[in-house]
């Protein structure tokens, strides 16, 4: 689908090839695989899910992203059948599944703890679901062999789960969940237990497997990079509600609210009074005596509305001289420099005490850097680089 082809472009949804045409959510004719309608879930006084409407389409790799306690896991457990909504309807291919017990749903789940059966071998773990679907013995064996090949575990087929490494257990869990070729695969923080390198590698394997099998994946994660890497669309959740559902690119570049902008990636937030200036743009008067800054308005606003300009650090240019011909210009002093090797983050202190972060790629070696602590610098960015948010 529209997955990045290399790790260098993690957030770009516009991948190469014909797959870029995959966006059923824009097609009014497309029939969603899953549909949440007015779903609410209460545990006693606590509302875990608050009136959610959500459509997920066939062959999507859909991510539920949010901090812990935002309701993303509850939403997933409702799809698996381990929780039922207090209010509302959930349909799978048009059929209401609220009252269908977990063992009768064409939905399989990969658990955060993997939940492998410790007393069964790798093979027997994968065959567990197949045996319960009334499949012929030969067919089961063939399918198990196929799954083992897919996750490259043929050599460890007769081992028990505690006799293989953590990464291999993760692959067994995936193979077991995919063996029955479910309509929908749920992944609950599937890579949380792996170390960083293995996690990044596995993310691409997941995308690969998702494309090969054509299964719809729904992944729950609190790791925004993971969601950006694997997902065709992301639902950012906050306190039981959905803050925004969009492609990774749009979530990052056109956040709908300050919450989304702040949760996904780093962002500078500058608050002030807004004034619309036409063509979907707005100005923000953020301090007396300095020119207003401008950006694209996320939604129509009126003069005098309180609004926030969200600008990503990598979209800001740092220079010693005042740049010519730009509307968004502020002056400050270098307060701190975080050197990360490939990039450096400059923390620039504006006169009123606001700190703005700017990201600079270190194309030169460290001794040749242009700015250092306490230098007076100018920060600038283009008119369309920032977003003006009212929520």
């Amino acid at each position: 689908m529209n997955q990045p082809s290399s790790p260098q472009t993690p957030a770009q949804p516009a991948g190469p090839g014909p797959a870029t045409a995959f966006h059923p959510w824009d097609d009014p004719e497309a029939v969603p695989l899953i549909r949440f309608q007015g779903v609410t879930k209460r545990f006693g006084d606590f509302t875990a899910i608050d009136d959610i409407d959500l459509d997920i389409y066939p062959r999507e790799f859909f991510a539920l992203l949010g901090p812990s306690g935002c309701g993303k896991t509850t939403l997933m457990r409702m799809l698996a059948g381990f929780e039922s909504p207090s209010l509302g309807a959930i349909t799978l291919e048009g059929r209401d599944i609220v009252r269908v017990p977990p063992h009768k749903r064409a939905v399989n789940m990969m658990f955060q703890s993997y939940a492998l059966f410790p007393h069964l071998t790798v093979e027997q773990n994968i065959a567990f679901g197949l045996k319960r679907s009334g499949m012929e013995k030969d067919a089961i064996e063939a399918r198990v062999a196929e799954m083992l090949r897919m996750v490259q575990l043929q050599k460890f087929a007769t081992r028990k789960p505690h006799q293989i490494s953590g990464g291999q257990r993760q692959r067994v869990a995936l193979a077991r969940a995919l063996a029955k070729a479910p309509k929908l695969l749920l992944l609950d923080e599937p890579l949380g237990a792996l170390d960083k390198k293995l996690r990044q590698q596995t993310q691409f394997e997941l995308v690969d497997i998702q494309e090969k099998t054509g299964t719809t994946f729904v992944i729950v994660t609190h790791d925004q990079e993971e969601a950006m890497t694997v997902a065709s669309r992301i639902a950012v959740m906050n306190e039981g509600r959905i803050a925004q559902v969009d492609t990774p690119g749009r979530i990052y570049e056109s956040p709908a609210s300050v919450y989304v902008a702040d949760f996904v990636g780093d962002v500078n937030l500058i608050e002030g009074n807004a004034r619309p200036i036409g063509q979907g743009m707005a100005e923000i008067h953020w301090r007396e005596g300095v020119p207003a800054i401008r950006g694209q308005a996320a939604e129509p606003l009126a003069e005098g509305d309180r609004a926030t300009l969200a600008i990503r650090p990598e979209k800001i240019t740092v220079s010693r001289e005042r740049p010519e011909g730009r509307n968004n210009v502020v002056q400050g002093r270098v307060h701190d420099i975080a050197y990360l090797g490939n990039i450096s983050t400059y923390h620039v202190l504006l006169p009123d005490g606001v700190i703005v972060q700017a990201l600079v790629a270190n194309s030169r070696r460290i001794a040749r850097r242009d700015f250092t602590w306490e230098d007076e610098v100018w920060l600038s960015w283009s008119d369309t680089a920032g977003v003006v948010l009212t929520r």
């Binding site: 698996a80 063992h103 028990k160 490494s165």
Partner: protein
Amino acid sequence: MSRFTWFNATALTFGFAFLYLPMVILIVYSFNESRLVTVWAGFSTKWYGELFRNEQFLDAAWVTLRVAFFSATIATVLGTMAAYVLVRGGRFFGRTLFSGMIYAPLVMPEVITGLSLLLLFISINLDRGIFTIILAHTTFCMAYVSVVVSSRLVSFDRSVEEAALDLGATPFDAFRSVTLPIIMPAVVSGWLLGFTLSLDDLVIASFTAGPAATTLPIQIFSSVRLGVSPEINALSTILIGIVALGVVTASLISKRNLVRQARDARRAIQAGAEDAREARAT
């Protein structure tokens, strides 16, 4: 810390003497030639021979084994079911009351349990015999089994059961093919605990036994009241031998499990390394 001192040596000697001297004396005198328990008259195994010709003792031993086997088995089934419902059943009405009540037999004085069962059997006109002893032993063994099994269930990763359901197992199938094999060690130790408790119970058995069936502890107790005979010594020695065998076997098994765990952990690390090597090669 682990230095040899006279204080340590003395403490060790007295401690173990206190624990084991009575048993050593009992075992030594079981091989005594003389009928008098306190006078040594040379080595002999004749009391063992006498013991195996004593119909009363053999009958009692057979009754005891059957009682222990059946009550431990019934208690294991019921106790496991009770533990499962109390741990997994969620919140239902009266759950706290039930879980309190299942543990009550553990702290109830045995005399009370025995007496109340006796009164019950009399009031419903149940003839006392092997059946009533089994019933009585089942009630208190069940409490022990459910304690052991529920502590295992509490520490058990619930998502393993959910995975079974998710893969199409019915709730009963999930219990049988996933939960039960995983909690099996606890179920087995619950059974063994019940078996041992039933074997050496004297108080409850003497309330609920009838003339038709006597257990070994009752037999030993009543014959000792007429004077200790070397036969009893021989019988006790055999019992000590069986228990010692059980303890040694259990510790060997747990040692073997430790070795196996270490080996599995090593294999897991090797498997991971092998994988990484292959990933680099391709």
